[in-house]
């Protein structure tokens, strides 16, 4: 099945204008909070109605402003996993699942409920209330309830934000397993670059209600192109930049000149370097090496976060983050750092 979406709507002080399509895959929507991610999902599910545009699943049109089609959420066959799961608190697990099986005869209903309980390892919890379940169990109940309705599209709205950190990774694994078996389209909304990278082959990036980039996840992480995309993919260090040669660029905020791997395209005005892409060096020999002053060091269980200034130029630079694993670096501050030419992100500050 394919999913085609192009919707627009204006609210007071906020406009949404999003279009993308997906082909039977897990599509990620990455954006900061308030960028319109959830609103996009709500338009697809029929909870919110856009002013313009069209939404279609395969040949089935869910919404078409021009043709005045707007199918009720009840008939869209779009499953929505809410952030807090939205389980009905006054119903047991079985009753919650039963709500999505309203059109089946009693015997079939029983059979399907039992099958779903087994499928999500909830056999012994059928008579519990949601408040008596752990976060992970609640998520499984919510998924079971959605699948009971046999949706053609599955919308996951920040599925892990309600969970404790230690549960999160285990549940990510479980969800990945589950999604492998699921045959419909999946859209996952997240503000976490890790989740986006782990789950989605394709990404759509939203900023203030606008689609600012979309494409293959790996290439978007490797070459974000835009300053705001680089930020959303987790890059921490940015500097205003000015081209000085075909393959050299001067980082204004850091006061250093850096060599890049490829020929610099026109209109590049920023560069970015990911926090883990710096290498310690002992002397200023190799290309892209520069002297540093360490400002503070934060120790994690397995890594160091180092905040430093470069002082290549006449004035001292702003803070730069360096993240390094403990196996690579003992905690003695080096006097030089190096960055490989291929690890420098060439960025535009505005979308053209």
């Amino acid at each position: 099945m394919s999913l085609d979406i192009a919707v627009a709507r204006k609210w007071k002080g906020f406009g949404l204008n999003v279009s993308f399509s997906s082909q039977n895959e897990i599509l990620g929507i990455l954006g900061a909070s308030g960028s319109g991610k959830s609103m996009t999902l709500k338009c697809i599910a029929g909870i919110e109605t856009p002013e313009k545009g069209r939404i279609a699943v395969g040949q089935r049109v869910l919404f078409d402003a021009a043709a005045k089609i707007c199918i009720k959420p009840q008939e869209r066959r779009v499953g929505y996993l809410f952030q807090q799961y939205a389980l009905f608190p006054h119903m047991t697990v079985e009753e919650n699942i039963g709500c999505a099986l309203g059109n089946l005869a009693k015997g079939q209903r029983r059979k399907k409920t039992d099958w779903l309980l087994g499928r999500f390892q909830l056999e012994n919890l059928g008579h519990r209330y949601p408040s008596q379940l752990s976060g992970g169990q609640q998520q499984r109940v919510a998924l079971a309830r959605i699948l009971a309705y046999e949706p053609e599209v599955l919308l996951l709205d920040e599925p892990f934000s309600a969970l404790d950190l230690h549960l999160r990774e285990q549940l990510q694994m479980e969800l990945l397993d589950f999604l492998d078996d699921y045959s419909g389209d999946v859209i996952l909304v997240t503000h976490s670059q890790d989740e986006a990278y782990r789950f989605c082959r394709k990404l759509v990036i939203l900023e203030e209600g606008q689609c600012i980039a979309q494409g293959d996840t790996r290439s978007l992480f490797q070459d974000p192109g835009l300053l705001s995309v680089a930020k959303l993919t987790g890059c921490k260090n940015f500097s205003l930049a000015r081209q000085t040669g075909p393959c050299t660029i001067f980082a204004e905020d850091w006061g250093i000149e850096l060599r890049v791997e490829r020929e610099i395209p026109p209109d590049i005005d920023y560069i970015g370097i990911r926090a883990h892409d710096f290498l310690p060096a002992s002397e200023d020999k190799t290309p892209n090496c520069f002297p540093i002053t360490v400002r503070s060091i934060m120790e994690g269980p397995f890594d160091w976060n180092v905040l430093f200034h470069s002082h290549g130029g006449e004035k001292e630079s702003g803070d730069i983050w360096w993240n390094v694993g403990k196996e690579k670096y003992g905690g003695q501050a080096p006097s030089y750092l190096q960055v490989l030419p291929e690890n420098i992100l060439l960025l535009h500050s505005i979308n053209r």
Partner: protein
Amino acid sequence: MDYSPILISMRTASASIFFTFFLGVFAARLVAGMERERLKMIFDGILTLPLVLPPTVAGFFLLYLFGVKRPLGLFFLQFFGVKIAFSWAATVLASAVISFPLMYRSARGAFEQVDQTLVQAARTLGMPEGKIFWRIVMPLALPGVASGGILAFARGLGEFGATAMIAGNVAGKTRTLPLAIYSAVAAGDMAGAYDYVIVILLISFLVVAGMNWFTAKERKYTRREGRK
């Protein structure tokens, strides 16, 4: 002691809460679901008016509408052969109109407290709107709706001003407890008034106690037991 005011009052309050409850819930659902803020405000204002108007003014309007020669009164008389003004039905009408805003406002507040994502989730699961209301919104709003019902019942029981205007004070027919107390005092029969006052006090206390029990009652789904 004449027991007829107690009987009349109980019958009036019971009949009026029947109408008030369903109309109040219906109106609350309607207004809570309105999307246009201005429309919502206007409806809310009209529906709340009987609560803020002096009961005699509400009674005046009722008389204006349901009097024997007024449009609605004439309609009821001609089509159903029922005379409303100064009959027992008028005590029910007065109680229902005066207690309606309490029911409506409590129910509306309770409906609006229900987490909207639950309603949205129910819709995406294919549940029809009616089923969503009766199986999800209503059970979750029940404490608020029930306490509204109890309040409205108590208010209907104590109704005086509007009742006096449209139903009058006919002994054995439209003389409810509050009117009986008034009549007894007006006739200088303080001992008679005492008896009715004690009855009203008892009933009012039971109502408040019942309301507290309802709102404080622990619901089984919020208990956290046997959690792994």
